[in-house]
């Protein structure tokens, strides 16, 4: 083995150039695949860091359009053509409508901790002298294990199911502090913040924990006003051309068409650690479930009412099923599906994500592997040239008693040195590039208080890359080594 090292160091330049090929190949693999793995880790970990995700199943309900379409079919099935064999008689019955009865049925499945229907509606609310259109969600108060409000930024939970109390999310709070008129209205999106501490960044820096807590606790106890139209009222146009009930408090209170319902803000929900899939349709404001049901009716628009009159009640848009522990997710999900409900859990999504990343990472590794393959030709070339130059040496070695196999071994060891050192340096190089890129992105592109790791190099990545590099170099050495072994010592000794 020392012989091989010595041989390589004889022609340092040539060895180094060949090794560089391997370094680039390995470095490319490491850099690219580590990016893929890092993203995967971030996304998956991000999704899985919410502990509740492990135990949540989402059940999707029936939309109004589906209900209408199903009712269409029902009338058609009066004639003799059988379009949908499964669709006989009452179409509405075969749809997995989530109504209170369905909720009760789901609740009965063993392993289920609780079932919460998605109850949300859009409405106008007034706070901080601003009127905004928000999503309001109903939250259960009678389920002891319901933990959406366990980690409030400030304040307390609802005191009862009947209370006229509200809990805002941070996003909701921000709505009332800015010029944005609705969650998706003009003004939405990352705001171009000027230099913050002298650093210009593309996305604004987040507030610190203390800032957020301070802002949140300031609104506890204040009043949030829910606006509804008095029943039977024709909206028509503004009462007078000059009146501006949207912005003027007096005009609003004096306007006979509106009813004002006062809710007391008792809490602010923490956006960090928030549920990834927010069941209440991304609500900005939460009120107790009973209140929500009540106001949902009174805020219903005419289209919804017409749909109900024409085709029936489509039921809740979705429901959240919580199981007692992660092992129950699979069986409960199957049972729900067996009942005809459309259930899915994050594990499906995770599986899909895993598959996608498998493909992505595999492709990246393949590209890097091609670079390595090219490098292997370089290794072959180097070895062949080396053998040509050392023909006499090989002859001498054979003359003093070296066997063909031993000669071959020498060249294989030389090649594996190139592969090994190229692999190791490639890993180091890839890691360095990752570190630099990570630093640059964290410093100049986004401003986060903690640095995010975009790249991940697990042991099997660098171990695999080095092994592959050595393997490739050995393969590259096969032909040259055979050539070396076949050298005829007598001819070689005459060689110069």
């Amino acid at each position: 083995m020392a012989l091989a090292w010595r041989n390589l160091s004889q022609s340092k330049l040539r060895t180094v150039l060949t090794t560089i090929g391997v370094i680039i190949g390995v470095g490319a693999i490491i850099t690219m695949v580590s990016l893929g793995l890092g993203l995967q880790k971030n996304i998956v970990n991000n999704a899985l860091s919410r502990l509740d995700v492990y135990t949540r199943i989402t059940v999707i309900g029936v939309s109004a359009d589906e209900l209408l379409a199903a009712n269409e079919k029902q009338s058609d099935s009066d004639d003799t053509s059988v379009d949908d064999p499964g669709d006989t008689g009452s179409a509405a019955k075969s749809l997995p409508i989530i109504d209170d009865k369905a909720i009760a049925r789901m609740q009965e499945i063993s392993g289920v901790k609780y079932v919460v229907p998605q109850m949300s509606f859009v409405s106008f609310t007034r706070f901080n002298n601003r009127t905004r259109r928000v999503n309001i969600g109903g939250a259960p108060t009678t389920i002891p294990d319901y933990d959406a409000f366990d980690n409030l930024l400030a304040g307390t939970k609802f005191s009862s199911d009947d209370a006229q109390e509200a809990i805002l999310t941070e996003d909701g709070l921000n709505l009332f502090n800015t010029d944005q008129v609705s969650p998706f209205g003009p003004g939405a999106g990352p705001r171009r913040v000027g230099a913050r501490g002298g650093r210009r960044t593309i996305f604004p820096a987040a507030k610190t924990e203390e800032e957020r807590q301070r802002d949140a606790s300031q609104v506890i106890g204040k009043e949030l006003v829910l606006l509804t139209l008095k029943s039977g009222v024709q909206p028509a146009s503004l009462v007078t051309p000059q009146s501006n009930p949207l912005n003027d408090e007096n005009d609003l209170s004096n306007d006979p068409r509106f009813e004002r319902h006062v809710f007391k803000i008792v809490g602010v929900k923490n956006s960090v650690g928030a549920q990834v899939i927010n069941l209440a349709g991304n609500a900005q404001v939460f009120i107790p479930m009973k209140q929500a049901k009540h106001y949902r009716e009174s805020t219903r628009d005419t289209m919804a009412q017409m749909t109900q009159a024409l085709a029936g009640d489509p039921g809740y848009p979705a429901a959240e099923v919580r199981v007692i522990d992660p092992s129950q997710v699979q069986p409960v999900e199957e049972k729900l599906r067996g009942m005809g409900f459309r259930a899915f859990s994050i594990t499906n999504a995770i599986d899909a994500i895993r598959l996608i990343f498998l493909i992505i990472n595999g492709s990246l590794a393949l590209i890097g592997g091609i670079a390595l393959l090219v490098a292997s030709f370089g290794i072959s070339n180097t070895m062949i040239m080396s053998i040509r130059e050392r023909t006499r040496e090989i002859g001498i070695m054979k003359a003093i008693g070296g066997s063909d196999g031993e000669i071959m071994k020498i060249f294989f060891v030389e090649a594996s040195f190139i592969g090994l050192s190229g692999g190791v340096f490639g890993v180091v190089g890839g890691w360095t590039i990752d570190a630099i890129a990570n630093f640059v992105v964290n410093k100049w592109v986004i401003a986060s208080t903690t640095s995010i790791q975009f790249f991940s190099i697990p042991w099997y990545l660098w171990g695999g890359a080095i092994t592959f590099a050595v393997f490739v170099s050995l393969i590259a050495a096969i032909y040259p080594a055979f050539r070396a072994a076949k050298v005829d010592p007598i001819k070689a000794l005459r060689h110069e």
Partner: protein, 228 residues
């Protein structure tokens, strides 16, 4: 039983479109402890014969017998072991590896025999000392005189303690002083360690004082033998 024998050995080469016969029916035998000289002009086939004895080449017909065993059925690997353990060769042009020191050159032969690094070092130094070169062990061949290089070569040939030493015109590149020294040394080997020496040369005068026997080749045949 003779230590080395050739039985009707022939060696043909294909050169261009023709077949050249380098050896034609050569039968000789060498006893253990003998100093045999093989004489002849260039082209007589003497080097070819020595290569056969050294296991570097195989005859086209006939066989080589070492200690009663024929080399003919030996595999390539077995032949390499024969070269490693049974014979030691020295050449006119020394055939040292130029990028290695004297000690490393000797160690190389020991490495092929599977010796550990520490053992190799010790034995190589010991061998170099026997040929009087311990002071120059870390020098490369280019830094050594012809005589010194040949001595390294001898040390290497002796490394695995072969029974036979084969020398192909070993004094060709040496001045007469060194040449006499060399032959004297080979003779010492024969007398004190009972090594068998077969030396190819074109200079009869050189070996006459030492050789027990001489065999003369011409055009690939034995034409004369002299001595015991």
């Amino acid at each position: 039983m003779s230590i080395l024998e050739t039985k009707d050995v022939t060696r043909d080469y294909r050169m261009g479109g023709e077949i050249v016969r380098a050896l034609a029916g050569v039968s000789i035998s060498v006893e253990k402890g003998e100093f045999v000289g093989i004489l002849g002009t260039s082209g007589s086939g003497k080097s070819t014969l020595l290569n056969m004895l050294g296991g570097l080449d195989r005859p086209s017909t006939g066989e080589i017998i070492f200690n009663g065993g024929s080399l003919a059925p030996l595999s390539s690997w077995q032949m390499s072991r024969y070269r490693l353990h049974s014979v030691g060769m020295i050449f006119q042009s020394f055939n040292l590896i130029p990028t290695m020191t004297a000690r490393q050159n000797v160690s190389l032969a020991l490495a092929f025999a599977g010796m550990s690094q520490k053992e190799r070092r010790a034995k190589a130094m010991d061998l170099l000392q026997r040929v009087g070169l311990s002071a120059r062990s870390e020098h490369r061949p280019t830094e050594l005189s012809g005589g010194e290089q040949q001595r390294v070569s001898i040390a290497r040939a002796l490394a695995n303690e072969p029974e036979i030493l084969l020398a192909d015109e070993p004094t060709g590149n040496l001045d007469s002083g060194r040449a006499a020294e060399l032959i004297g040394f080979l003779n010492e080997m024969r007398r004190h360690e009972n090594k068998t020496i077969v030396m190819v040369t074109h200079d009869q005068e050189l070996i006459r004082p030492y050789a027990d026997r001489t065999i003369k080749l011409k055009d690939g045949r034995v034409v004369e033998t002299a001595g015991a």
